[in-house]
Symmetry: C2
Subunit: 397 residues, 2 copies
């Protein structure tokens, strides 16, 4: 839809390769969303503040002074530094908006309006522009004005209350699931608005709150509360209502077994030579097994303690029982299936130094899934090219 000429950053074609995204966002929820859009072919221009740019440039881990965190999330994007309070830079920003399909920001609500770039003003001036705002608490409601980071919404949204061990300390999900979930819902909102625009010709405002996203992923914890009136607690490493569906200790390690129905439970009992499991009334149905999850775990672990994961996993796999090893990040990234799926890609720091990163999990028959992505941009690194494209170079901006 964009009339901007294509850039020369080495982007690969994808289903979104006709789209221009202007990205004011910083750190994670917004940049994660525009990373997903970029991986699917969209051209993303980061508009960064001249005083240091995206905060995540200053968040580790660092390699020779460059943030790997920043580089991994911002691979394949371009950068221009603009002071949105300076008239000359505002002219550049507005020239970009005039060509853009999508604007993404993750400021606290109100910041854009104070700059004169609130949704009503932008919609009037750029009627086809889709404007997506990812914020901590959303654009409406009593807490809209408050700032939030991942940790805050993980705590307030309830996921920490069901993660960890009974009676143990509060436990954070080990990645920034508050930001990432909001980023994914932001992408879904943008793509939905694009679908709508193809019919109506009009852009719309997409309002995604990190806290809302945490509620949306509570899954059966909401259903359990709705039925029982009791807030569920953490369950360690097992599923609340499917059993056996947990990590179990073996000789020298752990494996995960996910026998989600009666047929798989029967296959598990056979593979472990434990026919007694099938005649014990405590384990006669999934509901019964879930009510006796600890007794079942004790029996399973007594048997599993006789051999290491390398013995049990092939035996369970041969029996068709879903199972798997407990892998650390190094093992996960080296796993043959992960490699075969191109989920570890090559990209680069702004300096050009190489970096590996997680790949794009959306595999499409109509598009090649590249094994490398262009580098993350240096702050303001694409200024000259972008100004030239916009025909603004001669103005000396």
């Amino acid at each position: 839809m964009s009339d901007a000429p294509s850039d020369t950053a080495g982007r690969h074609p994808g289903p979104l390769d006709d789209l221009l995204v202007i990205d004011l966002s910083r750190v994670l929820a917004g940049p994660y969303a525009t990373m997903v859009l970029s991986d699917l072919g969209a051209r993303v221009i980061k508009v960064e503040n001249p005083a240091g740019g995206d905060d995540s440039r200053q968040i580790g881990p660092f390699k020779e002074g460059e943030s790997a965190y920043f580089a991994s999330i911002n691979r394949g994007k371009q950068s221009i530094a603009l002071d949105l309070k300076a008239p000359a830079d505002r002219a550049v920003f507005e020239a970009l908006l005039a060509r853009a399909d999508v604007l993404v920001e993750n400021y606290r609500p109100g910041v854009m309006a104070r700059l004169g770039y609130g949704w009503p003003a932008l919609h009037l001036r750029y009627p086809r522009l889709i404007y997506a705002a990812a914020s901590g608490f959303g654009q409406t409601g009593p807490d809209a004005h408050k700032a939030a980071y991942d940790m805050v919404v993980q705590a307030m949204g309830g996921i920490m209350s069901v993660t960890g061990w009974p009676g143990g300390a509060p436990t954070r999900v080990g990645t920034s699931i508050g930001d990432i979930t909001a980023g994914l819902f932001t992408v879904i909102g943008i793509l939905s608005a694009l679908h709508d625009r193809a019919r109506t010709g009009s852009g719309q405002f997409v309002d995604v709150a990190m806290l809302d996203g945490q509620i949306a992923i509570l899954e059966n914890a909401v259903a359990r509360y709705a039925v029982s009136g009791v807030a569920p607690g953490p369950l360690g490493a097992r599923h609340p209502s499917i059993t056996p569906f947990a990590a179990y200790a073996c000789q020298g390690g752990h494996i995960v077994i996910a026998a989600g129905n009666d047929a798989l439970f029967a296959a598990l009992a056979a593979a472990l030579d434990m026919p007694v499991l099938l005649t014990d009334p405590r384990f006669a149905s999934n509901a019964a097994r879930s009510a006796h999850a600890e007794e079942l775990a004790a029996l399973l672990e007594a048997r599993l303690a006789e051999a290491p994961p390398a013995v049990w996993l092939p035996r369970l796999e041969a029996a068709g029982v879903p199972c798997g090893p407990l892998q650390n990040v190094a093992e996960a990234l080296a796993h043959p299936q992960v490699r075969a799926r191109n989920m570890v890609i090559e990209t680069a720091f702004p300096s050009g130094a190489p970096l590996i990163a997680a790949g794009n999990p959306v595999k499409l028959s109509g598009h090649h899934d590249p094994a490398s992505r262009p580098p993350a941009p240096a702050l303001d690194g694409d200024r000259a090219a972008i100004l030239k494209e916009l025909g603004l170079k001669e103005l000396g901006l």
Copy 2:
């Protein structure tokens, strides 16, 4: 895009309200994806096996024999039971596909091809149809044929290795983040393919693997491994590279503090009357604070122990420090901001009995965000209406 007449299930208009989705999926990853599409206006027809239907109808929690788990994820969808090996039912299925925009399934790879419904065959016959398959390991690679459930991909994908406490037992993320992430990437793939179809006229195949999705959300754990060569471990309730960014014990409870930069750290020190924090070289930068996270936590918790969360939270909020209470699911769902954002909606079991569920976190300026959603369907509950619509009733099917 669909030429099917609109149903009478009380769906609300949304950006996707011109779409017909045929849904063969069961339990969670696929049904979660089609729930998101349905919440955004798409018409979703579940095609269930006549022998019991979607497995999640038999997964608790139950209320008077009906699964709240099934009902919450399948609200607003329709159901028809079809035996895809029976010629008469295949004719109904094919009539549905002829009108559909999107087909979603989450079988093991190969199942659809054995039914004669593999992607090449369907693409030839229904060239505009988008076919999305969400599977455990994806359609390609050495493990493509294996089954996986959430627990397996959480373990293999690495998120369990960074969740929990150092030296503690393996810990599962307390919701089915393996399924949910795959569901969200499936929606993104479908919407990207719809965007592409508007240009090309052609549908495509969307291949999403639950394991791939887990790699995609490892976030800075991948960056830390890429830079250090060391697999990161769990960190309890703190962020790995932003400090202070954790849950801290207070008098009688915990609060979360997320002071993500130097200015917020200074505001925190002032709000706690701890100016010493600002002159201590161990805490002079985010990198220094992250290297001394435990010493900082000890100092903060000694101070925080002097008062309960109800004292600290308003004080930190007034100072502009991102913070929040650690809430259980009951507290999260009752929170005024969550309610104000319409994140707790009314829906119903197939019987019509009321049920609350998490709302739709994608708020769009162009569409109303309803406070209630139609019930989940009874198995085969929409058969007569669908057959009539398809003009097949007279065949006695």
